[in-house]
Amino acid sequence: MRAENYQQQSHPPSNQFELNFGPNHPGIEGNYALQVEVEGDVIVKARADGGYLHRGFEKLMEQRLWIQNISLVPRICVPDPSPMEVCYSMAIEEISGIEVPERAQWIRVLQLELSRIAAHLFTFGGHAATTGMYTPMYWGVADRDLILDLFEEFTGGRIYSIYNLPGGVRRELPDGFLDKVSEVIDYIESRLPEYDNLFFRNAVFIKRAKGVGVLTQEKSLEMGVTGPNLRATGLAFDLRRDDPYLVYDKLDFEVVVEEAGDAWARTLVRRQELLQSIRIVRQVVAALPDIGGELRAPIPNPLAWRVPAGESYARVESSKGELAYFVVSNGGEKPWRVHVRGPSAMHAVQVLEELVTGGRVEDVAQTMFSLDACPPEVDR
């Protein structure tokens, strides 16, 4: 045998294996690989291998007009695409000094939070499936689909909204849309007890998840972990609150914290964040009818638009953590440089390698899913 994912095993006398988790492996989130060396059931060495989803986004963005990249960026993180376009737009707005109308900001919040709910529902399902329980995945994906229906209705696309432009959003919400949002949100909230019964209060699951992939707060800070993973180690930090953007400073929500830093704590944090997101969406739904005005600040003809020379570092709290766009313009029609700082880049490589090492084979997938790693974000 030759070839990569089928390496000939030279079997040493010990019970050491080399296992390939991925790229084609059900225990891997997306198209990603983890080569692990196993002694018995215990992993002695792990090495992440990315690039399977590499498309050269940053290069592509340097080759396209400022506005064309709007349709490109959501692809960077498929499960949670909305923060990408919002963040990219925010970066351009900062460089060119565009003031986003208030209504657009509220709608962006709505979009971001719906996307977060969808992403979290998806993550629960994935996490449950790694422990052998598939029903939450079936439920979660089906319920997430209702949110995708909402996206379809107001942005025109189920997954990739491509709804933001620098300066605002592209379309007015359809008639009666906010009622539908409330309906779906209510439904999802009413489903949560059922999820709790099945999943979050499942003794077997808790037994599986507790103590797996423990990240201490110290370690997280050292490794640059952000988002729910950081909050699960007891640090109450949320960009929405601490580096506020859009209208988050006008919204009332809590930053959810857990102390333990293991897979179970991370999942719990997400579970509570889901509720917070629902709370935020409710506030947006209540506030939006009273916020009138423009949806979009005028921008020049996109074919000719030159963003003035400058740079900005825009940050958004995505469902995975701190998402940042470093955009540099040299005054040209295309970005000179766009650097995407995906949150997963931190926890899907170094952190994952560390957490997995010393753990058990059966916890690899769970660790990865509980970290909510998003490989396309790493590969870009």
Binding site: N69, S71, E153, G156, G168, R171, L198, L268, E294, L303
Partner: protein, 632 residues
Amino acid sequence: MKYSDDGSLLRPLRALSFLGRAAVTESLDPRPAADGYRGFHLNQHQECIGCSSCQKICDNAAISMVKVPSLPNDPEKGIRNLRPAIDYGRCCWCALCVDICPTSSLSLSKEYVHTCTQEDIDSYFMLPNEDSMHGGSEYGGGWEKSETSDLLNLDRQPMGELEPEYRQDNFKEIVNGFTPQQALDEASRCVQCGACHDACPTGMNAPEYIRSIYAGDLEQAVRWIYQSNPFSHVCGRVCTHRCEDACSIGVRGTPLAIRWLKRYAMDGVAPERIKELALEQAVVNLLEREFGECSAPVEIVSADIDDAIAVAKTGETIAIIGAGPAGLTAAWDLERLGYHTVVYESRPAAGGMTRYGIPSYRLPYEMLDRDVEIITSSGVEIRYGVEIGKDITLEQLRDQYSAVILAIGLHLGRSTRIPGAEHKSVRKAVELLRLYSENGELTVPRQVVVIGGGNVAMDIARTVARVQRQQYGAVDTTVTALESQQNFLADPEEIKESLEEGVVIKPARGPQECVIKDGELESLRSWGVDSIFDEDGRFAPHYNRSDEQHYPAQMIIEAIGQMSDNQLLSEDITEELEWERGRLKIDSNGRTALDWLWAAGDCVNGPDVVHAVADGHRVAASINDQLIKLRG
């Protein structure tokens, strides 16, 4: 829920209640998509103008422009028979093409299912039309352009003008021209479709110079401009801007002010520099013809260049009659082609109708002088005050020169021939305009009526109004036109400005008689007009006799059209030439029936400066071809 919670083994069993509950599964057939869904493309073929903006905004290079011969192709209206074909092997359904579409003809449907085998992969390449991808229309429209999503800026930058009180009694230029910011904003509206280029008789490189203006490189813009038009100062002000009629942005909004942008570019570069650039261009063109493509900008002063130029010159000389836009453009081109040109002009200054027909508040003479200066400095020789037929005959020219171009313009006004039109106080507009620009003054009575509704009528009316205001402090000028308000021939701005300056406009009036009492002109009698054309579209005005009006006037000015002064042609030549309705008949290259005589400009095309320039180009090219043929 707390971290310390150990969960329960029984709680999960509650999920078994779903055994008795309905499934949430959808049917196997595709659901109808939401109203704003971004599915496959739709394109209203009748509305699409083939501008290819969709192609430019497409970040995936998914759109090819396909020529559909069965569809109308009308460059003058900015309509091409190109339609976007979408490659669904590239498309990402972002709908940016829909949002940029200048006509709103593109939209996306709610249809989203398409599958095919490898053999049918061609079905991924689609020419969308009004029907959905797989025919039929049951899917309905999805994403359409909304006001918010529209990516185009449809409103023109306002052009600053002198307020009426500052302009109504003098001949200062009215239009201020763009400020740099305005020019930048206006240039940025362009979608670079090139419809203007197609519509322009001279094939102006408008998209390119707009791009250069936007890039802040005015010199480059001037270079682009000089590639097709040596009368750029003039055209930047008084061009009839066919380009703007064709502009795709104009389909839903106001077209780009292409003329003003040209003016901005020309005004933004110092005249000496323009001259340098233009002459550089001329030399480059000359040398390119002789030595093939030159890539680097040429330094004119270099001695080698002079030698090269000498080699490139053919040594032949061409005579041109009339130093108007057509004649001088031809001269400019011929110089660039290596000929020497001699222009005969009967008047003391060059410019032809642009000098003697356009009031200086629209075109300051200084601008015209700049253009003429550049042309003459390229080597063109103008002999002023020489009248053909009197000082020198055409036959002499024929014998002395390799070819002769007739570009005599339209300097005679047409008459209405209504009763009383022969009276000395019934004048022709062109005549008065010429008088004014030659002498800088004009005597007008207190009450003047102008017959005609075109731009010339407006020019004379506004000139008269100014003079009246200067002389009497009050304006009493009335313009009567056959056309109704909506179909007025003159540009809307002209009408607006005329009204601001105190000119009274009476639309839909048919002149019947210049009423003369005691040998003095008293008034114009006119009837109301019901219709101008008959059912077949022929000119046959139908009057409403009961609606009779008298407009008192001590002077009536006819501004209903011009004709050329063919007196200069000798009888022999007149007979040898072919005529059509009083105009010289020429072929598509501007050649007359005589193999040494070409005709160009207003005298063959009717009044239009940009057409005259185009004619000049055409004739020059034709002469060059002919002479090369003769040389063997």
